[in-house]
Amino acid sequence: MKKRLGVPLYNIGAVLIGLVISASLLLFLKLNPVEVISLAVKKIVSDGYTLGEILVKATPLIFTSLAFAFTYKANLFNIGAQGQFYAGAIVAIALSLALGNRVPQAVLLGIVLVCSFAAGALVGGLIGFAKSKFHANEFLVSMMSTYVVSALMDFLLRTSLQENKAEYLQTDAIAKSAYLPTILPGTRVHLGFLLALVTAVLVWVLLYKTPLGFRIRAVGYNHSAAELGGIRSGRIYVTAFLIAGGLAGMAGFTEVNGVQHMLLQNFNTSIGSFGIGIAILANGNPIGCIFASILFGFLNVMGTTMGRLPGLNIPASIIDLIEGVVMICVIMSYFVRKAAETRSEKQRLKKAGVK
């Protein structure tokens, strides 16, 4: 039990250290970090809308972090969540434009949800297939797939999906009936956030309570023992990537139907890589992904808020800096924890003598 508590404690400690380090960088701007931060936090807390933005920003991150965490459990690297997200977004916008005002909202959202999951799953599944059938390096293939899907998106934005005015590389806005309903009045927090929470819990259940999840984890820890246990790792690779791709695809759905209500070039370019960072922060735990995503959502809003503080001239990009520093601190904490454990174990042995 002690060990299980240890991981989150080290993680939280690392996050705090990371925050302190990055906040002190404000000194470079000749600002007092404590003052600026308390000012920004006050501003966020005092304003319901801004508070809600934290959850809005966290929503797609929960999906993309799950997309990385899920394959990570099978010891695979899905670096392509960005592309799978785009695939989901393309399908979401195309269906929403086509079906908007034609079918009831609930039906439409249901269809779009399933199809955007399928679109992401298709992209992910192909990567998994390349891995299991050809032993291709999934890291490289998934990374490259993002660029391909992104080019496809650009192509569609320039051609069949382009807005009626044909001026910018973007689509028309979708009909109101295709919106994901807002769940907190006075904010932009939409149903997608609840969907993300439910999904994370479902992913946790799948991984830890079902035979399939057991098999995925077994392959991830030791594929050779799993194989001898009758588990076909090739199939697991495809399955894991299918599901992971689908999860990232759902982010496309919630972003298009819940927030942007249209699709445009260079849409949310960094949620894929942030997803990876969040998954690491959460040590691959789906429930942890929720909290880490909300933390990143908070940092995101914090960055924007600080940027808007009058007269201080803080770049919103400080957010990347904070997130980068926090991630490195967390990664290092894994090393520190292991070293500390080994050390105390050794001390114990030294005292105890021969077993």
Binding site: K209, N222, S224, A225, L228, T342, E345, G353, V354
Partner: protein
């Protein structure tokens, strides 16, 4: 070469005998790993021109103490003196500087590089004149009568040749203290003889050799002095001329081996044959067959042993039997049914249990709990599922029962496999496999690297399963184990069965010759 004999294993200050100062002197060295004490208070000496054997069971700490001397591990306590001077050996580079070389049990060669490249690695600076280097290595090899294809990739060469390359690495740096870790483990008896000859020649020139082994015969053949280790400590140091195999065995094991009781040899011809192999062969790409036309049958209630030096196709045979590899030709029948093309899973479900040789790699998921490890091979079975979920409570209860039944030292089903000692891990694997293997159990070296207590327990379980009329196939490199347990013994050499014998029909010596590939007909020529 009057090497002083240390009778007192833990003497605080080693008695210096003026006539011969030890080249290597370890005093009170201890080493702790994350979970185990590898060495505790180890003191030993090596003199010039001497062969010192480090004798002990697997896991006795022989390799570790020598890796400390070679700088691969750092010591936690104690001192090392080389030629009288205290030295801090922080890396193999320091050791090599002092004329120490070590050949690892698993060779440290780069398979994709040539013999020359492997030998000069780390001992060459700047531009490499490759033809010149090849010539130099060839000359060096010739002075010791080695025939080495210097420009062939090492991965393509036979194990015996690879070992010669390892020796050449030591000779290339003019090492005067050569440590060899289980050098004969992969060699045929003939190759071993060549090696022993080399050791004699090498020490005659005033060099020293430390020979790590767990084989008593070799010790008596090659060593001048024998340091016996057990559980990380030196239990005694004796001169070869003043001891015998029985005494050494006692020192090494710490207790007399009591052979488990065996029924009179039964006649199994009438019994149902559970497993039948018919001309099973496996040829990997570009190599000669590693399993070559193997045929035999294992009957209900029979323990069928396969003897052989490791690396003669036993592992591949087991792969074929469990289904992880397809044979190139031949047929496998299980209870009369052809299962040659069956998947691993359907073989598990048919009732074949399998304990693979590499527990870490193939039998357990070290980061999962014991309960999860019990589930590993039945994740598809409806027994542990209800409505699509794992029946965790039932699984935990079952695991807890097995922990008690097999006397696994663990706190409960939620312990991770990694937290257990090797012997207890193997008991967990055994518990799972004997339950799964309702008809047939396949063991590949089930006791390798375990302490005597665990070995005993595993032997008992195997005999119990025999009593339950299961068929058992036991692959082992230890003849004593096979003679103790088996009803029939086959000898495997270079992928072929050299014959199948009833236990008692042949002596250990005769089986040993077969293991070396000398069959009755060839004996005349040899």
């Amino acid at each position: 070469m009057a090497a002083p004999v240390e009778k007192n294993k833990n003497s605080a200050n080693t008695v210096e005998i003026a006539s011969s100062q030890p080249v290597v002197e370890l005093s009170h060295v201890s080493k702790y790993f994350a979970k185990v004490v590898a060495n505790k208070d180890v003191s030993l000496t090596v003199h010039a021109g001497e062969v010192v054997a480090l004798l002990g069971e697997n896991g006795a700490g022989k390799s570790t103490i020598m890796k400390i001397l070679y700088g691969l591990y750092g010591k936690d306590e104690g001192t090392i003196r080389i030629r009288g001077e205290e030295r801090q050996i922080k890396s193999p580079a320091d050791a090599m500087q002092l004329g120490i070389a070590m050949i690892q049990q698993h060779f440290s060669l780069v398979p994709t590089h040539t013999a020359t490249e492997n030998i000069i690695l780390g001992n060459v600076h700047g531009y490499i004149p490759i033809t010149e280097c090849n010539r130099r290595i060839r000359t060096l090899a010739e002075t010791y009568g080695f025939d080495i294809p210097v420009d062939r990739k090492v991965g393509e060469l036979a194990v015996g040749v690879q070992q010669k390359i390892e020796i050449l690495k030591a000779l290339y740096i003019n090492a005067s203290i050569l440590i060899m870790d289980e050098p004969t483990a992969v060699l045929t008896p003939q190759e071993s003889e060549v090696l022993m000859q080399f050791i004699h020649d090498f020490t005659k020139q005033g060099n020293s050799v430390v020979f790590i082994t767990h084989k008593l015969k070799e010790v008596m053949e090659v060593a001048d002095r024998i340091v016996v280790m057990r559980n990380g400590v030196v239990v005694d140091t004796v001169r070869r001329t003043e001891t015998n195999e029985q005494q050494l065995a006692r020192l090494m094991i710490g207790q007399e081996i009591v052979p488990s009781e065996r029924d009179e040899a039964l006649d199994f011809e009438q019994a149902v044959s559970v497993l039948e192999l018919d001309n099973v062969s496996l040829a990997l790409k570009g190599t000669s067959a590693c399993v070559d036309s193997v045929s035999f049958a294992v009957h209900e209630g029979e323990i069928f042993g396969i003897a052989g030096v490791s690396g003669n196709g036993q592992d591949e045979l087991c792969d074929i039997l469990c289904g992880s590899r397809q044979p190139t030709c031949g047929e496998i029948r299980f209870l009369g049914r052809d299962i040659t093309k069956d998947s691993i899973r359907s073989r598990i479900e048919a009732g074949i249990g399998y304990v693979p040789v590499d527990r870490y790699r193939d039998a357990m998921v070290m980061d999962m709990t014991l309960a999860e490890n019990m589930l590993l091979k039945s994740s598809f079975s409806p027994v542990w599922q209800s409505r699509g979920f794992i029946r965790q409570k039932a699984l935990n209860r079952y695991t807890a029962e097995k922990i008690v039944e097999h006397r696994v030292k663990a706190t409960g089903p939620n312990d991770t496999a990694r937290s257990l000692s090797g012997g207890n891990q193997q008991k967990v694997v055994l518990a799972r496999e004997v339950d799964l293997g309702k008809q047939l159990l396949i063991f590949n070296q089930p006791t390798r690297g375990l302490d005597m207590g665990a070995v005993d327990r595993i032997h008992k379980v195997i005999l119990e399963e025999k009593e339950r009329k299961k068929a058992v196939l036991l692959v082992s490199t230890e003849l004593t184990e096979l003679f103790e347990l088996c009803d029939r013994i086959a000898v495997m050499y270079r992928g072929r069965l050299m014959g199948v014998f009833h236990n008692g029909e042949k002596t250990t010596a005769e089986i040993g010759l077969l293991m070396a590939g000398v069959s009755d007909q060839q004996e005349v020529r040899a």
